[in-house]
Symmetry: C2
Subunit: 271 residues, 2 copies
């Protein structure tokens, strides 16, 4: 998927919402737990209930890996279900990978050849040759960690002058075009989104941290929206665990619609 | 496994060799490809042939993930085979993980509760709360990326004053003791091992890059050995792909023995 297709979808759905599929087997509704593949059944119901309001899904790989091979099967089934039923949707493997060139090549193959993901999150610590193997696939994306939404972001990301996250954003633009590279930018630091938008005026930013982590959507939009929207805002726990009765999908749908309505207003205001 | 047990094993085997199980289905001998689980059969043969000369194995997760759920099964079987047959061996999941706290917790669970790994490699970019969830397991280890062996290490790891990799080594020592934290230190920069050893006199260093990547074992030992050895030196391709006929395990054994003999000499010289 290229950036124009992504933008078209945003305009059509009046949303730049990504739903994070951080599916924790211990947190899903009881009635699903007796199913053959409870994680997939949960994801399927969430996707069916929220796809009208969201442009992307972001399974967080840790939650699947912790279940071993069975978890990977649930993940694959989820990605394939989305791709076959809602082909317009952008699917992000939130994996935070990154290794020496020949290893990153294997990760890229895992996500982009053997699976149907459109993008993968990548950690920048190991530099160019850890990132570029993901870039050899047409219409597939690297989403590079720039400024994360957690407390530990303060440990290294602000170090140096200019701060490390500036260096990551600047240097990586020599490796990839805005049509294959996005940046993770935590919503818990909305003022920083202003700074990052100046460093990367054309790039999409993937913004986690709205909702459970406390970020404000209005602030993110104020500083982050560019002429092609340029934002994908993720919410995980605030949507998928809003309810844990048999009604969970309906409640998730309402929560996603709530964010979509807010996003619709912000798109009207800024675009 | 604690550092004393690791040191005992080093003294007993006169080796600080780790064999990297970067098992690529396209590179294993033809006669294994018709087996039910060729990757596991290959690993099993390599482990049986080299365990006398090595203290650790390091499966590189990318090579298993690229095969999907089937790959994870091969990985699990490999780790369990090593743990049941050679319980003295240290098993490293080379995964380069790291995410916000609640996600790192899931990765930690995957490697340390649901699998038998003793250690996992972790990327430091996201800071303290991305690392500490791995530290809540007794006798399990975080191996934090400090200075990697690839070209891209120059992009960010030397930035700042002191350079980023110094900051990572210094700051992380507030998070964990030398009995639960090691550092990845690429052998392609042996002079840097001297610098790192001064910053972390007691820690074990996991040193990749000897062999195919060009690092020198003698140089690594000269600068890196401390009073408990303090080194785990990894070789992957130089051992496991030294031969790809039916004789591969025998040749791998000879290669591992060659490194062990060199290590034995270095231990005599420096310890």
């Amino acid at each position: 998927m290229n950036s124009n297709q992504l933008f078209e979808q945003i305009l059509k759905k009046r949303s730049f919402l990504c739903v994070g599929l951080d599916t924790d087997i211990d947190k899903i509704p009881e009635h699903l737990k007796s199913k053959d593949d409870p994680v997939f059944e949960f994801n399927k119901a969430i996707v069916d209930a929220t796809h009208k309001y969201s442009i992307a899904y972001k399974p967080n790989l840790a939650f699947y890996e912790t279940l071993g091979a069975k978890g990977l099967v649930s993940l694959e089934k989820t990605a394939e279900y989305i791709k076959s039923n809602y082909p317009e949707i952008f699917i992000i493997a939130d994996a935070k990978r990154g290794d020496i060139g020949n290893t990153s090549k294997m990760y890229a193959k895992a996500f982009f050849e053997n699976s149907v993901f459109d993008a993968v999150t990548v950690a920048p610590y190991m530099g160019e040759d850890s990132v570029t193997p993901f870039l050899s696939y047409k219409d597939k994306w690297v989403i590079l960690l720039a400024l994360t939404s957690n407390k530990g972001a303060d440990d290294f990301q602000f170090s140096g002058n200019p701060p490390l996250f500036h260096q990551v954003i600047k240097k990586s633009q020599y490796w990839a075009s805005p049509d294959e590279l996005m940046f993770v930018t935590g919503a818990t630091r909305a003022d920083m989104i202003d700074e990052i938008r100046k460093l990367a005026p054309e790039h999409f930013l993937l913004v986690p941290g709205v909702g459970a982590q406390g970020g404000s959507l209005a602030e993110v939009a104020k500083y982050g929206i560019n002429e092609k929207c340029g934002l994908i805002v993720n919410s995980s726990r605030g949507i998928i665990y809003a309810d844990n009765t048999e009604n969970f999908a309906q409640v998730a749908s309402e929560k996603a619609k709530g964010l979509r309505d807010e996003m619709n207003n912000l798109l009207e205001q800024y675009l």
